[in-house]
Amino acid sequence: MPTRLSDRVGVATAYAAGGVLIIAVTVIMSWLVWQGIGTISWDFLTTGPAPGSLEQGVAGGILPALVGTLIVIIFGMLVAIPLGLGVAIFLTEYRQPSWLAKGTDTAIDLIFGVPSVVFALFGLAIFSQGWLAWLSNPVGDAGMATAQSFFCASLMMALIGLPPVVRSSQAAIIGVPNQQREASYALGKGRLTTIRRIVVPGARPGIATGIVLGIGRIAGDTAIVWILLGGAVLQSPPDGWYLPWNLVDFLRSEGSTLTTYIYFSSPAGEGNSPGPAYGAAFVLMVVILFVNIALIRLSRRKIGKR
């Protein structure tokens, strides 16, 4: 224990801060579990909101929201992964021309910093133009579009998921030993083959980390979904949405995700029914927890490899 009074006070406040942190975590998590677990049931996860319940408050299950979260993650990452990997490879293996490298580097930082609500705003203005009506649905005959569909939301979500994919892949690609590249060149392989066969496989854990981080960001975003997927809770997805030939129609339709479901059914939204909101928040937290467990596993694997 330090001897000076001021030092003692300092140490005491640091311990107090740690204590407050532990208490805050315990309170929030136990509140979520306590309130959420009672709502969770098989029906809650596998049915849609009950018919006629949306005016007085939300009742019934969260299936459409759960499906919506999955769809937005899948299609957002389908765009973000190839783009992000491409940018990462360019920024590490090529870096020519250098102005493009510097510009892209800054652009990725900016995309990371810009609030998602600005992307949502941009998406709303772009996708509501008539010539992009094939991404959502046309409005009347004024040459406008609703700009609210899984396509629109996923495309903007790709921007949210992109920066972590780029940064993690970049770090992992730098970590691939140079001897491996040189060995590949020595065997007469070209640059592209080397990247495809040596660099990308070697960087796989880092790329996976980036993908998981991106999934976490997409799963937690509300503003984009609220503005670009529709600010309401739908009772159910359209009939037969899971059939492959209905996929395009389904992706052009409005929907909801866990985050907008929570927002809608909180006292701030129109649904105002805390019970289902707690349930959905619990499910969303479980998703985030899985994402983080995956991240910890991945980082262990990386350390084990070296």
Partner: protein, 312 residues
């Protein structure tokens, strides 16, 4: 790869140009008074730009955005003031003082808290904290006195500050703790050898060494706070009100609406070009602010790398 990178550069450039271009009419119609207080409440102005001015029937272009700017400044500033000292002390606790086992548990927990979606914090704020604030901090008589001006509920500036602090404190703790651990061990050992205890060593050596990381973490957290739309739309009461400092203690119990949550709250009236321009003008301010913060954070973290890398 070059094509993909060029494409990304074009996309982000197009977004910036488009946001500026669409928001410009709002700035040019109002000039510098865009940043002013104005005669009418913000919500009336935003409503008029959508439904039309009650006198002329035409959608009005008038916007004096000070209430929204003030709302953003108050919530972000308050949250930073509240969470910076807490995050710094918490990081010192985790990185230097806590027993190894406890630190190993707290580390992933802080990461999970930083990754928790803001809507969950918003839900916690509005369902758990708001009723308690309303019950315990708002005396009935004074609330009635003020009810002619504004209705006081549990959703207010204070709750906005609290929910933002919940969001950004874990982020700051994670960054600060990482930086504290990156301080070269030689420096720490040197301080101990000179007779410092752990606290002195942290204060005199580590805290000085990680100063750029403190700046970087704080600017990142600030960018998050400025752009947060949903949690604040839930927690601040979402009324474009200007809290009156003369109300003293009640200043923090009055509702506001930030720029980011205005965008979410009014996004349904997008068919009106006037409202669209106004919302994009908010977008322009958010874009400029967060871009400046991002670049600031990058400069700070470069200098952090140089400082901590140079000692080994």
């Amino acid at each position: 790869m070059i094509a993909i990178s060029a494409f990304m550069l074009i996309v982000i450039g197009a977004i910036a140009i488009f946001v500026f271009y669409t928001g410009w009419p709002s700035f040019s119609a109002n000039g510098l008074s865009w940043f002013g207080t104005g005669d009418q409440p913000l919500d009336v102005q935003l409503g008029n730009s959508f439904l039309g001015d009650p006198e002329t029937g035409e959608p009005s272009t008038v916007l004096n955005a000070w209430p929204a700017i003030l709302g953003t400044l108050l919530t972000t500033g308050g949250a930073l003031l509240l969470s910076f000292p807490f995050a710094l002390l918490g990081a010192i606790f985790i990185a230097e003082l806590a027993p190894k086992r406890l630190a190993a548990i707290l580390d992933p927990i802080v990461t999970i808290l930083a990754a928790t979606p803001s809507v969950i914090y918003g839900l916690f704020a509005i369902l758990v904290l708001a009723p308690r604030i309303e019950r315990n901090l708002i005396p009935q008589e004074q609330a009635e006195q003020l009810s002619a001006v504004v209705t006081l509920t549990g959703a207010n500036v204070l709750l906005g500050i609290l929910v933002l602090s919940l969001m950004i404190a874990p982020l700051m703790i994670a960054i600060f703790a990482d930086a504290l651990r990156a301080v070269p061990i030689k420096w720490k050992e040197g301080a101990i050898a000179l007779g410092c205890d752990e606290w002195r060593m942290t204060r005199r050596v580590s805290l000085r060494a990680i100063r750029p990381a403190l700046v970087a973490g704080t600017t990142l957290a600030m960018g998050r706070a400025v752009g947060e739309a949903i949690a604040l739309s839930m927690a601040t009461g979402s009324i474009g009100f200007v809290p009156n400092p003369l109300d003293g203690y009640f200043f923090f119990l009055e509702p506001v609406r930030t720029m980011a949550s205005s965008i979410v709250d009014y996004s349904e009236g997008f068919e009106s070009p006037e409202l669209k321009a106004n919302l994009f003008a908010f977008g322009v301010i958010l874009l400029i602010t967060t871009a400046a913060l991002t670049i600031g954070a990058k400069i700070a973290s470069r200098s952090a790398e140089r400082r901590l890398g140079g000692g080994q």
